[in-house]
């Protein structure tokens, strides 16, 4: 009996172990593509791998463009990989991790925030392709403002073609403005006009109403005020070079003389008296209850608050229109105006486009994708609604804003046409550290007394020095 039991026990144990072993082998084999990462789009085959910031739904939404591209280039297989991220900074970190892991995508959709980081370390310049296909690209450049293109120039080379962009304009709630007895602000309204507008709004509107809401970030935070006051928290200079592009595509542009080989931000500038002046203005708004102490974060919650008439004004780009529309705002419920003037009316903008990675398997194929993505056909597929501002002037038209507003949608592209010195987000290759240095001091700077403001700016200067200490 005992022998039988022992055999039975041995048998079952062996069977169990065998089954377990077989199970482990089976599960491992089944999940091998995941374990080795070969299920990642573009990995393990010759497809062109394109990384974008977004969700799987965003990747699926690009399918129409991929289909259109396949008709023109059936020989190039394309796979879009959407990478979820909190913000651009987070997205770039994930791309860098892929690079470190030896599995970089071939093409990456990069915003101004990361343009110089990519240009310095990761991206391949487009110069040779643009020279080669100059005839094909002429139509694109004629439709795109040179300011956007210049934002992607780095040390004389062009690394991306702008696809979409947004300037920091000023949105206002029309009902709140009317209740304050005010008309649409003038195009050249000043920072003092803006303050008067906020004061009137506050007086006329209920207690839980905020005249000016702003968030603490690189785009739309304190920087537009610094630009309007003809300064910035970093010293802005320009590289020489780039003539090959400007002379080829923008020779007759009225702003040709302004163009360069790209922006450079090499030194901190937080100790500039005009920086103090701009911060002090914002401190005054906060102190008098006209503006909020800025929190860090995006604008998703803000859309709901604005749409429920609890916010009077806020700086944002064309990307806000579709959001407000979906939140229930009618065409008459909101409008947009240029950012208020100070010493200048220079605006801040951000733009985005595809960068070809140095490590791309087939750079020629990657260029074909970049070129196709900049075509009118592709851009019309990608931007059917106003959830951003297309880089092509011809697409920013009445048709795009029909049914959503704002009435003064022309403000979006006029920002570039009327103010050609309008500049990009200050984003050197060390952008992430620079952004942290800025944001961490803004709240303190605008939330206390003058002493605290000075201390915060001194701290910002020191933090920026640390962030920029290692120049590429």
């Amino acid at each position: 009996m005992s022998g039988t039991n022992g055999a039975l026990r041995q048998f079952t144990r062996r069977s169990a172990l065998t089954a377990l072993g077989a199970g482990i082998v089976g599960v491992t084999a089944a999940s091998w593509p995941r374990l080795t990462g070969t299920d990642i789009p573009g990995r393990g085959d010759n497809s062109l791998s394109i990384a974008i910031m977004g969700t799987a739904a965003d990747a699926a939404a690009r399918q129409k463009v991929i289909d259109a591209f396949a008709k023109v280039h059936p020989e190039i297989k394309v796979k879009v990989q959407a990478i979820q991220a909190v913000d651009w900074k987070d997205f770039f970190t994930k791309i860098l991790t892929m690079v470190a892991a030896g599995t970089p995508p071939d093409v990456v959709y990069v915003a101004t925030e990361g343009a110089q980081l990519f240009a310095e370390k990761l991206a391949h310049p487009l110069d040779e392709y643009l020279r080669r296909d100059a005839a094909d690209m002429k139509e694109y450049f004629e439709d795109v403002h040179p300011s956007l293109v210049e934002a992607f120039m780095y040390k004389g080379s062009l690394f991306q073609l702008p696809i979409d962009w947004n300037a920091a304009n000023m949105y206002y709630n029309t009902a709140s403005l009317r209740s304050a007895g005010l008309e649409r602000p003038a195009d050249d309204w000043t920072h003092t006009d803006f303050r008067s507008t906020l004061a009137a709004m506050k007086k006329a509107n209920p207690k839980d109403f905020t005249p000016y809401y702003w968030t603490n970030r690189l785009f739309g935070g304190v920087v537009p005020w610094l630009y309007a006051n003809e300064t910035s928290f970093l010293k802005e200079t320009k590289s020489p070079g780039g003539e090959w592009l400007w002379d080829s595509f923008y020779a007759n542009d009225p702003s040709r003389s302004l163009r360069s080989g790209g922006y450079q931000w090499l030194e901190p500038n937080a100790d500039d008296p005009r920086v103090f002046e701009s911060f002090d203005y914002l401190r005054g708004l906060v102190k008098d209850g006209l503006g909020v102490r800025p929190e860090e974060g995006g604008g998703s919650a803000l859309i709901g608050l604005f749409a429920s008439n609890r916010i009077g004004t806020t700086p944002a780009g064309g990307y806000w229109v579709q959001g407000l529309h979906e939140a229930g705002m009618t065409e008459d419920g909101f409008d947009v105006q240029f950012f208020p003037k100070w010493r200048t009316q220079r605006h801040q903008f951000g733009t985005a486009g595809y960068a070809i990675m140095k490590t791309a398997k087939d750079k020629d194929a990657a260029w074909e994708w970049v070129k196709f993505s900049s075509s009118l056909e592709a851009m019309q597929i990608v931007f059917p609604t106003p959830n951003t501002t297309p880089a092509r002037r011809s697409m920013v038209n009445e048709q795009l804003y029909a049914g959503t507003g704002p009435r003064n949608w022309k403000v979006f592209y006029d920002t570039l046409d009327r103010f050609p010195t309008t500049g990009p987000i200050p984003a050197p290759p060390q952008q992430a550290a620079v952004e942290t240095a800025l944001m961490k001091n803004v709240s303190l700077a605008v939330s206390g007394d003058e002493r605290q403001l000075k201390d915060a700016l001194n701290s910002m200067q020191r933090d920026l020095e640390l962030a920029l200490r290692r120049q590429p």
Partner: protein, 321 residues
């Protein structure tokens, strides 16, 4: 012949067992080898896992502290430069100071709250309510710290948050919770303690349950009531649990990241920036992986020193029955 053996000592030398073992193949040379290596074979996957996923990263991280590396370019050996730069960096110094203040306040609140509630729940409540509160207090711990913090951001928003709305009902003006140094530190600690005290609470519940009723009865006969009973019986007998709870709470608090990162991004200024947050920023924002490793090494040494001190002190303050 099989029984004509000498009589060696040891359990393995029993002739009957040896015979049985021989039948099963364990008595052979191969069997003895199997006996020797079999445990290691079973342990091998765990040892390999620990080696690859725990020890190797630790060693790599320590080694990386002596290099400058931005993920993309090849690492450059810089000796102790990273440590020197880290020590001189005011942000790093402030973040470590913040972390220590955070640990002192948050751990004291966490343990105090957990102990007080554990005594209340264990003593005053009927069994079904005890079960309810155990679950209720533990529940926040299983939630994602990031999602809790995002939710709390909305609650503590100065203009539109529920907390200020509730305060306004009783006439208290809006408090700038997340935009002033004091307010943001208070919210970070509050959210952290709310989310983590449930674990200490459960440890204390277990500890309280293990204290013999007779000890309380004896104390009562000796005239101890109310606070005296807890002071002279509960706390001393709970000291081993308190040691474990405090060691774990301190180690966890020293590594706090999610709550301050999501709630305040370390601000305003550096007021809620913690040591782990600076490691993250150095590595993934500044791309200074060497410096991040150096900070990590320093933080690890601090944690080890504090834990060692706790165990050393425990010899004087922990009472084992």
């Amino acid at each position: 012949m099989s029984t004509a053996t000498s009589t060696p000592t040891g359990t393995g030398s029993d002739p009957g067992r040896r015979q049985a073992a021989h039948k099963n193949g364990h008595g052979s040379k191969l069997g003895r080898a199997q006996q020797r290596w079999l445990p290691w074979a079973f342990l091998a996957p765990t040892i390999a896992g620990m080696g690859i996923f725990t020890l190797l990263p630790i060693v790599a991280s320590i080694a990386l502290a002596f290099f400058r590396w931005d993920i993309i370019s090849a690492p450059t050996f810089v000796g102790f430069d990273n440590f020197a730069e880290v020590v001189q960096d005011p942000t790093v110094r402030v973040s470590f100071l913040n972390t220590i203040v955070f640990v002192v306040v948050a751990v004291a609140l966490q343990l105090g709250l957990a102990l007080g509630l554990a005594i209340m729940v264990q003593e005053k409540l009927p069994a079904w309510l005890r079960v309810f509160f155990r679950s209720a207090f533990f529940f926040p711990l299983i939630l994602s710290a990031a999602s809790v913090s995002i939710f709390m951001r909305y609650l503590f928003n100065e203009q539109f948050g529920v907390v200020n709305w509730m305060l306004s009902i009783v006439g208290i003006p809006a408090v700038p919770w997340l935009t002033t140094p004091g307010g943001s530190a208070a919210v970070v600690i509050l959210v952290y303690v709310w989310q983590n005290f449930g674990f200490s609470f459960l440890l204390f519940i277990g500890g309280l349950a293990s204290i013999p009723v007779e000890t309380y009865e004896a104390a009562s006969i000796d005239g101890a009531t109310g606070w005296r009973k807890h002071w002279f019986v509960t706390l001393p007998l709970l000291s081993p649990t308190t040691l474990v709870a405090s060691v774990m709470a301190i180690i966890n608090a020293l590594q706090v990241f999610d709550q301050p990162y999501v709630l305040t991004r370390g601000g305003p200024g550096d007021s809620t920036r913690t040591a782990v947050m600076v490691i993250f920023e150095s590595a993934f924002q500044r791309l200074e992986f060497g410096q991040a490793s150096a900070i990590g090494v320093i933080l690890t040494l601090i944690i080890m020193a504090i834990t060692a001190a706790q165990f050393r002190l425990s010899k004087r303050f922990v009472f084992y029955q």
